[in-house]
Amino acid sequence: MSNLAVTKRKKPKGNFWVAVPFMLPALVGLGVFVIAPGIRGVILSFANYNVFTGQADFTGFANYIRMFQDVRFLNSFLVTMEYVLINIGIQTVVALFIAVLLHRFTRSHIIKGIVLLPYLISNVIVAMVWYWLMDYNLGLINSILDALSLHKFTFFSEQTAMPSIALINVWRHMGYTSLLIFAGMQAIPKDVYEAAAIDGASEWRIFRSVTLPLLRPVLAFVLVITVTGSFQIFDTIAVTTKGGPVMSTDTFSIWIAREAWGNNDFGYASAISVFLMVLLSVIAFAQTKIMSANQSDLDR
């Protein structure tokens, strides 16, 4: 940590009461809108909550037992996994490619800005624009296929809807992810590349044997962020397929929202939320462990 310079000059006078007014709003925010609801969420997951009377009847593990027996649980799990694998898999490869392009061929801030632009546009708008581009009757993509006298493609059928939505979000996030990776590439010392260039290594070889291994910690960080976000996919589906057709895009978030606001079953929805949070923590923990297992590449 870089705060050594600060902590070294220790003046351990109890400045606590000076600090209180500075952090009071933040502490209240943390207590009221993170810690308290966190506890309430866990409590609700063990209860049958009546939204109209506000009364919670405790039912033990009933919500959890019901969840694991619910056919929608396995469906949501598989559908969410399908989304995350397609979304993260393609997005990471594309972003790596873009990052190499930015690293090797340009210094232009304008190009970086253009690549990042989709990320600034709301999920809802991005979803609608692509829903329109992919429309079966009038959408541009199918109109072009039609003009070339090829078969039209149904982008939002039971089989194709989830991959289509995953690709839409690749478009929105590829620039953002590539900038994070690009920043990591800039931290790789130039002399490593010089040595490789003198040895006459090819572009592909340099990428595979220099860039990729040295990028590992950054990739680990990027993957933790993007995977956590990806698991919570909601907006894009909410304004396009709403979970359908035939539950083929019924991810955890969509299911949670439907149980809560559709069926007024806030206790059950809370149990699913708790499960999702535990799942995300386990995945984030495992990722950090695996990706930094032998992190001796570039000790700086």
């Binding site: 500075f22 709003p25 933040a26 609801p37 969420g41 989709p118 609608m128 009038l138 800039q186």
Partner: protein
């Protein structure tokens, strides 16, 4: 990171072969087209007549140019006109929604960044026992997924009687964000402490030091953080949908767009109107990119290295 000493491999030592260069520039060009084209298509569609979109669906120019889409979305068209052009006759008050989005995003940004900056000061320049432990709680809060807090926070806002009000939408975001505290603390830690000590000897209190010295020195980072937060609030959908969609006075733009789309009776949506609304919602972000692009790009890179 110094702006003009970017560690990019494009100087003479790394001269690329001509075919590689052609490949690289072509790929960059295609990348820019892929990034920009859907946004152009939004504009093209918004200036078309919905009813006649089928006539030349692959033309780069609007199909039967009209401002009708914008007029419908802004409530300037009569229902008869709207239906004649292929609209649904549905009306959403986009003017109100635009105003709501501006209020929500501005209030959240200003309050959250100010309070987070103050907290970051307490976790960096000030020294007190237990400081790092308290800060660690905020770091843990950074990792709590939003979907987990959605339901209990919704119930809390409902208990307060703030459903379908703008304060209900803003409240959970106003007091702090763990990311903002984390981000600003990094910069405050770099404050030259001898200036702070000199100011204390001169009799300044910590409010003055924060307000007059530390915050102004970190102003570029504070502004950058504000821009990022404004974008995030502007684009938010899930929370304002469940908390505010019940009343036009608390419907923000993203939610209004969703409602506008859902109002279409079965069959094809009013694409021109929808794209006009989408464009209106996207334009502030495009403007931010044009004016602050370099800064936004820089801040995202910085968040990647840290």
């Amino acid at each position: 990171m110094a702006r003009n000493s970017e560690n990019t491999l494009d100087d003479a030592k790394f001269r690329l072969s001509t075919p590689t260069r052609i490949f690289g520039y072509t790929a960059l060009f295609i990348l820019c087209v892929i990034s920009l084209f859907p946004i152009y298509w939004m504009l093209r569609t918004s200036l078309s007549t919905t009813r006649l979109l089928f006539e030349n669906p692959t033309s780069l120019l609007p199909s039967h140019f009209t401002f009708g889409g914008f007029e419908r979305v802004l409530g300037m068209a009569t229902e008869k006109q709207a239906i004649a052009e292929g609209g649904s006759g549905a009306s959403i008050n986009f003017g109100q929604a635009f105003l709501n989005s501006i209020i929500v995003s501005t209030v959240i940004t200003v309050c959250q960044v100010s309070f987070s900056a103050a907290a970051a000061y307490a976790f960096s320049v000030l020294k007190w026992r237990g400081r790092d432990a308290v800060f660690f709680i905020f770091v843990v809060a950074l990792t709590v997924p939003g979907i987990f807090l959605l339901i209990p926070n919704f119930l809390f806002i409902r208990d307060l009687g703030l459903l379908n009000t703008l304060p209900g939408i803003m409240l959970p975001q106003v007091l702090m964000s763990p990311f903002a505290i984390f981000f600003l603390r990094q910069f405050f830690l770099g404050t030259n402490l001898s200036i702070v000590e000199a100011a204390i000897i001169d009799g300044a209190n910590h409010f003055k030091i924060f307000w007059r010295i530390v915050a102004p020195l970190a102003m570029p980072q504070i502004v950058t953080l504000g821009i990022l937060q404004f974008i995030a609030s502007w684009n938010d959908y899930l929370w304002p949908f469940y908390v505010g969609s019940g009343d036009p006075s608390s419907t923000v733009l993203t939610v209004a767009l969703g409602v506008f789309k859902a109002q279409t009776p079965q069959g094809s949506p009013d694409w021109a109107g929808l794209m006009a609304g989408a464009l209106i919602a996207a334009i502030p972000m495009v403007l931010l990119m044009i004016f602050f692009g370099r800064r936004i790009v820089g801040s995202i890179q910085a968040s990647g290295v840290k």
